[in-house]
Every structure is written in C-alpha cells, then in structure tokens.
Amino acid sequence: MADDEIILSELDDEELVLQMHDDLYDGLKEEIEEGVRILLDRGWTPYDVLTKALVAGMTIVGADFRDGILFVPEVLLAANAMKAGMAILKPLLAETGAPKVGKMVIGTVKGDIHDIGKNLVGMMMEGAGFEVVDIGINNPVEKYLEALEREQADILGMSALLTTTMPYMKVVIDTLKEKGMRDDYIVLVGGAPLNEEFGKAIGADAYCRDAAVAVQTAKDFVSRKHNSMA
C-alpha cells in the first residue's frame, strides 16, 4: 500500500508516538526500533521513550488481549517488537538510573513445559517497567526459592497450563510458608485451567486471568506494599 506510506522521521513527536502504538499493535519490530532511535535522537530520555511510546502501546495491546480482540499470536508479535525497542533502551535506562517498579521471578511449575502464558506475562511485565527474572519451565520448589532469594524479588509469578500441574503451585506456597518466607513476596498465579477461587484456596495473593491483568495486579500490590512500608 504505497499510498499510505508513512515516513517515521517526518512525523512530529506526538504523531510518531501514536504511530509507534499502532506499530506495536501490528508487531512491526523494525519500525519500533527506528521509532525508538528517532525519539532518542530528538533528545527524549530513555525513560520517557519506554513509558510514553512502548509501555503505553503495550497497554493498548494488553487491553485488547483481555477483551478477546487480540489473541496470543498477535500479542507475541507485539511483545517481540517491544523487546527489540527495549534492547536499545535497557543499557541507557541502567545508565540514567530510571525508577524501578519492582522485580519479579517467574516460572512454569514442575511438570509443565507450557511457557506461552508465562512468556507473555514476562514480556508484558517488562513492558510495564518491571524487572523480570525468567527461570523457565518445569521448576521444582527449590528453584523458585533459590531464585527469589538470589534476586531479592518482590513478586513470584507461577504459571501452569495443565490440571495435572496446577496443584504444584500449592506445594511452592506451602514451602514458602514453612520457611517463613511467604509474606516477603507477592505471589501471583495464572494459567488456563486456574480461576480466582483456586488462587485463593492455595494461598496465592491473586489469580491473574491474563497478562494484562497480571500487570495491573502487580502494580496494585506493589503500590500497596510501598504504602504499608511508608
């Protein structure tokens, strides 16, 4: 479609940011990289590029995913595009000491190799400014504990796609309780066969229906935690 060819560098800041939201939505990786570079060249801080262009764009993607308008393939493409933008911003963010929202350790429970949901949550959390430590699939309880302690994390995210593996989440939470560590972390659980009642019954802080909800819930809990500490 040559007639609506858009040259990113010719757009003003406001237009460019809106265009980047669309490009994220469409999962256009190279366009996102280009947009990020243009904004940085125009003197934007890395933190502003992250929040106003990428995070705001991913919020739209997240909302449409939640509402059943977008599905996993589109969200994966969008997240890949965002990741490409993040790769440029990450070193700059570290240099400039941008504010940190929180740190999450995320992994799929023992017996479960379905990491689609977990990856989505991880990417959306990164997109929302969280630091994410992904410990992968098929994690026994020891691996969760070790990662939580090593990383000084705020949040534990557990994912399961199978009814055969979801009860393992309780094993992890029970072990945290036994070791007196349960209250040190916000525990979020998710996965297709789960529901809110299950989350409560096993002692998680919250069940998150999808990646967008996970981000919102994590934000709410982190701000509550900060308030209670203040």
Binding site: M1, D4, E5, I6, L18, Q19, D22, Y25, D26, L28, E31, I60, D64, D67, G68, I69, L70, F71, V72, P73, E74, L76, L77, V109, K110, G111, D112, I113, H114, D115, I116, I137, N138, P140, L161, L162, T163, T164, T165, M166, P167, Y168, K170, V171, A192, P193, L194, N195, E197, F198, A201, I202
Partner: protein, 402 residues
C-alpha cells in the same frame, strides 16, 4: 445428498495387505460375500487377533481395504460415548502433581487398567489412552525423551487388554497432546520438527495396536496440521479436538468456524473433529453450535469439562455434578455432536449418568444459547468470535505493510 451420507463417502479407510491382493478382487462377488460373512463373525470376536472387521472400501483397486472400528461404529450408531478425565482420576489414585501421568503405564500398570476399566464399565464406547504427554518434547521434562516408544506402547497395550475384556466393541483411541512448544514464526518449533515429534509417537501407538489416533487440547492451527501430516505418514485414521478456552476461541485465536474450515481442507482429514477441555460445559456447547452452524462434513466430538476446577483439601475437584453432565450430554447430542464425552473432572459417576441420559432421553430440537446457559450455566465471554457479533478490530492510523 444428505450430509450424513456425504461424510461417509469421504471417510478415509485403511489399506490392508495391498501387496498380496490382486486388483481384480475388488470386483469379485464371491469375495464380497465372504467379507460380509466374516464381518458378522468378527464383530463377536473382538479381542482376538482378528480384532478389526473387514469392509470393502472405495479405493479397492489398490487392494483390500478394511475400515477401522470407530468408522464402523459411526456407521451403525447415531451417537457414541467417549470417556472422561484422565488426570483428575489419576490424581485420585495418588499421582503426585508435577509427575508425568504417562510413567504410570510402566510403573503403575494396575492403576492405568483401573482407569480404563472405569470408563468402559461406565459405558464408554471409546476411551483414550494415558499417552497425552507421550511425545518426546513433553517426556524430555522427565528425562524420558528416549522412551517414547516404550511408554506409548505400554499405554496402548493395557488399553487393548481392557477393550478385549469389555464384552462389546470398545474403541482404543490413542491420546496425543500438544508438544507444548510455540510454532514458528512466533516460536521456535518448525513444522518439520513438529511433524517428526508427532510421527514418532503416532508410529509407536499404531504399532501397539491402537484403533484410532486422537490428538487433543490443541490451540494452534499449525500444530493441528502438523499432527494431521504425521498421521498421514503412518496411515492411521484419527480424530482431533482443539481447546476453546479464550473468549470462545483457542488460545491462538481460532474460532469454531475457522476450525471447521481448516479440517475440511486437510489432505488426510480426521474421522471426526471437535472440542475438548476449555472452560466449562456451557462454553463447550457454544463451540459445538459454532461447528454445526459452519456445516461440517464430518462427525463432531464434544468433550467438555465437568464444570470449573475448585481446590479442596489438596486436590482439584470440578464442580459439575453427574446430573449436570447428563444434561450436557443430551444437549451435545441434540446440538449435533456424534461423539460425546467429558474431559477434566469427568469421573465414572458422571459418565454413567451421561450414558443413561443418552440412552433414555429422546432426541430434542437443537438447543439455543439461552437454553444452554439456562441448563449448564453462563458463558465465560459475551462472544465467541463467530457470527455477527465477532469482536471489532482496532482502528489503525494507517498501515505501512498491507
């Protein structure tokens, strides 16, 4: 031509000894009569080495064909009952969370026999083997990627024993679950590798004597197609179901109508197709209505969960009662499903109630969405992406790539 007849014409049949039978045998009346007589006898002999009935097929010029047991049952019955849950039942027998249920085929064969027998005793015409996670990609997790053959063989052989003692024809359907990987280009699993993974498992299941291959809980159309290709390679009849668990679609966004279109285009199409697992029985029924509205050429499979999972005292319990599942079974049949079973949470008591309802309650008109919601509970989303109420797309500012 009525639709029922149309799909029978298209059903694929399995080749038998093409090398040894001369082409003219297809036209031989004496031989046809012989086959007919044999069939009458073989029907009573299921469980012996002559477990499969012989039948003349369309591709007779290539040799003698014999249809599989499931095809034969589909021709003589207007509904068939499949089985219920595997995982939920095995947990109740003490399977630890996180362990591979498939290992029990080798380590706890008595429990697996018990599982199969409970489905058969409750009236299932078809039961699925405990081989759902028996592909190399899944077994790798348990350090058993090299044991695909052994584990699948054990699962099917135990099933063969139970079917042979059933006293009636019961189909051993070899369950195959997803690889768990995301297909390229979104993920790393290539089409070729996916076909190879399915092929390895399918061949083991075939060699062990499964009546039909049964791929289930699939989300991605690419993975479904890869499985179909693998089944063509091993030359086995198969059934395939996807899970519609995200706003009435599969996780990858496939609607019921899209699945029908995909299935009808496959080079080696399944004997029957449908939906399993997902959210609750009501959502699954909406998917069935979506299949039927799309005018499928093949029988439809309904395998819904017995309600929604709840956690009680260390184990998962599904809140659907046997009465609810009986209601669901009748609704599924009236909606146009031919193979009706349960998925997670469906225990022998549910199956027995379903069987009784299917046998005793007369056929009714196709239920509406309101009737389904009324009897089984509400839906998890307002729309399922089919028909006029498909969700609107986002308005773009203009795309640079068409």
């Amino acid at each position: 031509m009525p639709r029922l007849f149309a799909f029978r014409e298209k059903r694929n049949v399995r080749l038998c000894c093409p090398a040894t039978c001369p082409p003219w045998i297809a036209d031989c009346t004496v031989f046809k009569t012989f086959l007919k007589t044999m069939n009458l006898q073989l029907a009573r002999l299921r469980g012996t080495s002559f477990s499969k009935p012989l039948r003349m097929g369309r591709r007779m010029q290539k040799g003698i064909l014999m249809s599989d047991l499931l095809s034969r049952l589909l021709e003589t019955r207007d509904w068939l009952m499949a089985d219920g849950a595997t995982g939920t039942n095995l947990f109740n027998m003490g399977l630890a969370s996180g362990e591979a249920p498939e290992m029990w085929n080798v380590e706890q064969p008595d429990n697996i026999r018990k599982l199969y027998k409970s489905a058969v005793d409750a009236g299932s015409d078809i039961f699925l083997t405990n081989t759902f996670g028996g592909n190399a990609s899944r077994l790798k997790l348990h350090g058993a990627a090299g044991r695909v053959r052994e584990i699948n063989r054990a699962g099917v052989e135990l099933a063969g024993e139970v079917a042979a003692n059933a006293g009636r024809p019961v189909v051993v359907a070899a369950s195959m679950g997803p690889t768990g990987e995301i297909m390229a280009p979104m993920g790393t699993l290539t089409h070729e590798l996916a076909v190879e993974i399915f092929h390895e498992q399918a061949e083991a299941l075939k060699d062990a004597g499964a009546d039909v291959l049964w791929v289930e809980t699939i989300s991605a159309p690419e993975e479904f197609k890869a499985a179909a290709e693998a089944f063509e390679k091993v030359g086995m009849p198969w059934c395939g179901t996807m899970s519609f668990d995200t706003a009435g679609r599969t996780m990858m966004g496939v609607t019921s109508a899209q699945m029908v279109a995909m299935v009808d285009k496959l080079a080696h199409p399944p004997l029957a197709f449908g939906a399993n697992c997902g959210v609750g029985a009501a959502d699954l029924m909406r998917t069935i209505l979506g299949f039927v509205a799309a005018g499928p050429e093949r029988p439809v499979i309904a395998k819904g969960n017995a309600g929604i999972p709840k956690y009680h005292d260390g184990h998962i319990h599904y809140d659907g009662t046997p009465e609810l599942m009986a209601e669901y079974a009748v609704l599924a049949r009236d909606a146009g499903a031919t193979i009706i079973g349960g998925c997670c949470g469906t225990m022998p008591a549910h199956l027995a109630a379903m069987r009784q309802a299917l046998e005793t309650r007369p056929r009714g008109p196709r239920p509406t969405l309101d009737e389904i919601a009324d009897k089984l509970g509400g839906f998890s989303s307002a729309s399922d992406g089919t028909g006029d109420d498909a969700a609107p797309g986002r308005e773009r500012r203009g795309r640079r790539r068409g």
